[in-house]
């Protein structure tokens, strides 16, 4: 069968070759380097690198940040998507664009904005100091910076999903006497739960990997290092074990990405699944 668009074979192989080449050089090769470097001195060294005080600290910090930020942005994302798809209000399209600001702004700039607000010389610096509230160079600051960077992920995925689904089922639930809470949990949430999970996974991956914004907020306080910051620290330290520690931590982040990717693919498959896994249609009886 002749297809309508048949490229000459040369163009086809050239394009495929170029794509594969790029993937090899820019994606596969770095991953291999990380794994080789991390495991170069054997598993014993690898695990001792991971269990060094600084490493443990960084892993704990990263987990705590993710556990705080992901639920925060999930709640926000669902609220925003709901408001945008269910209500009419002036400035709606502007709001949709504004949610995406963190994707356009350099994370370092985002971090600097918070530093400008909460830092010692910042707008609220004096007041915070007087009340002994520590935001810069502390956990709250790191959470703020991470939340800023990962702000759009849940909302951005849900808005098109909820727009496509429309409000018909919600309206039906309303006329049947469901209140807002019942409406959300019984009707809307089951329709969007995979979308929410998808957004949370992307949000989590970004939250754990963020460097720029967090680096501004964490400064160089030793026990406030997240994994990416600690990797950089190890890498710059030039000590005897530091390079292997840097790559060991990096491999852990890599593992996280692999898990994220696996779940993402699983979810995508799952959302496609119903169309061909559906039981055969019953005989039509009118």
């Amino acid at each position: 069968m002749k297809r309508a668009t048949t490229d000459p074979w040369l163009a086809r192989y050239l394009l495929i070759g170029v794509t594969l080449g790029f993937i090899l050089v820019f994606l596969i090769f770095p991953v291999c380097v990380i794994l080789i470097e991390a495991l170069r001195h054997g598993l014993a060294v690898y695990f001792s690198a991971l269990s060094a005080d600084h490493s443990i600290n960084a892993i704990r910090m990263t987990l705590m940040v993710a556990v705080t930020v992901v639920p925060l942005n999930t709640v926000f994302g669902v609220c925003a998507a709901w408001a945008i798809t269910h209500f009419k209000f002036p400035g709606k399209s502007l709001l949709v664009s504004m949610i995406e600001i963190p994707l356009w702004v350099s994370p370092v700039v985002g971090g600097l904005v918070f530093a400008l607000i909460f830092g010692r010389q910042g707008w609220l610096g004096k007041w915070l100091e007087a009340h002994e509230i520590q935001i810069m160079f502390a956990f709250p600051g790191i959470v703020l910076a991470t939340a800023f960077v990962t702000f759009p992920f849940v909302a951005r995925g849900l808005i098109p999903l909820m727009q496509a689904q429309g409000c018909a089922e919600e309206e039906a639930a309303l006329t049947l006497g469901a209140n807002g809470w019942q409406l959300f949990w019984r009707v809307t949430f089951p329709k969007i739960k995979w979308g929410v999970l998808y957004g949370m996974i992307l949000c989590n991956a970004r939250a754990m990997g963020e460097f720029g914004a967090v680096s501004v907020m964490a400064g160089s306080v030793d026990d406030k290092m997240t994994m990416p910051l600690q990797i950089e620290n190890y890498y710059q330290a030039l000590g005897p074990d530091s390079l292997s520690r840097a790559f060991a931590l990096a491999s852990l982040l890599l593992l996280l990405s692999a898990v994220t990717l696996a779940i993402k693919i699983g979810l995508e498959w799952r959302r496609l699944a119903p169309s061909y896994a559906r039981p055969p249609k019953p005989e039509l009886v009118h």
Partner: protein, 244 residues
């Protein structure tokens, strides 16, 4: 229960500054136990009026009454008008049983029937719509006519005081349409539930309804018995629309 709307007007904001009038000073009463048809070309405002009565849309001006009670300020959730949507709007992730039981399950605890009573009610309704044995199916596993009847049963489960149907047979093929039409008329003769349905099909309106309201461009053109409309069309539009 009777339903009345009084001097309802509604404009829709479109992009830019122009707003389109959907309803202009509409007053109408559906008498207790009556089956009334809103008939008109598409875009004439009849669905908007139905949605305003249900509380899904808010009128710019005018009032809505359920019997003597002014429900203008009440939300859809408080009005609980039985509403059958044009595309059925069944809950896709719920079984037929759960779809029909939904209105009972969301009742406040004090008014909610127990599990056995809910099962009984749903089973009775399934029998009424001739779909017994289908309770475990998902809406996607039903034909159009079956979905339509489930949507109807779902609306009836909470014993609404009024039934509002938006183009109830619009998406069905001719045979199913005729059967369901007959079925609905019989159902209405049994229950005398005050009902209002929207259609653009004059045969459907004339065959099914006690009285017919003819709509055009957001205004009522004429209200009357089918025979009256045919004998004395009030204006050129009605004459034209009914092809007299």
């Amino acid at each position: 229960m009777s339903v009345a709307v009084s001097h309802i007007s509604k404009r829709f904001e479109t992009r830019g500054h122009r707003s389109v009038p959907a309803l202009r000073d509409v007053s109408l009463e559906v008498k207790t136990g009556e089956l009334l048809a809103l008939l008109g070309p598409s875009g004439s405002g009849k669905t908007t009026l139905l949605r305003i009565i249900a509380g899904l849309e808010i009128a710019d001006v005018g009032q809505v009454f359920f019997s003597e009670e002014d429900v203008t300020e009440k939300s859809a959730y408080a009005r609980k008008a039985g509403f059958v949507f044009q595309a059925y709007a069944l809950f896709q992730h719920m079984s037929v049983f759960e779809n029909i039981a939904f209105g009972l399950r969301v009742l406040p605890r004090a008014k909610r029937p127990d599990a056995a009573a809910i099962t009984k009610r749903v089973t009775d309704l399934l029998q009424l719509i001739q779909l017994d044995g289908y309770e475990k199916r998902l809406p996607s596993q039903l034909s159009g006519g079956q979905r339509q009847r489930v949507a109807l049963a779902r609306a009836l489960a909470v014993e609404p005081r009024v039934l509002l149907l938006d183009e109830p047979f619009g998406a069905l093929d001719a045979k199913v349409r005729r059967d369901l039409r007959k079925w609905l008329r019989q159902f209405h003769d049994k229950t005398h539930l005050t009902s209002l349905f929207v259609t653009h099909d004059q045969d459907e309106a004339f065959e099914l309804a006690d009285r017919v309201v003819i709509f055009n461009e957001g205004r009522i053109q004429q209200i009357g018995l089918p025979s009256e409309l045919r004998q004395n069309p009030a204006n050129e539009f009605v004459r034209d629309f009914l092809e007299l």
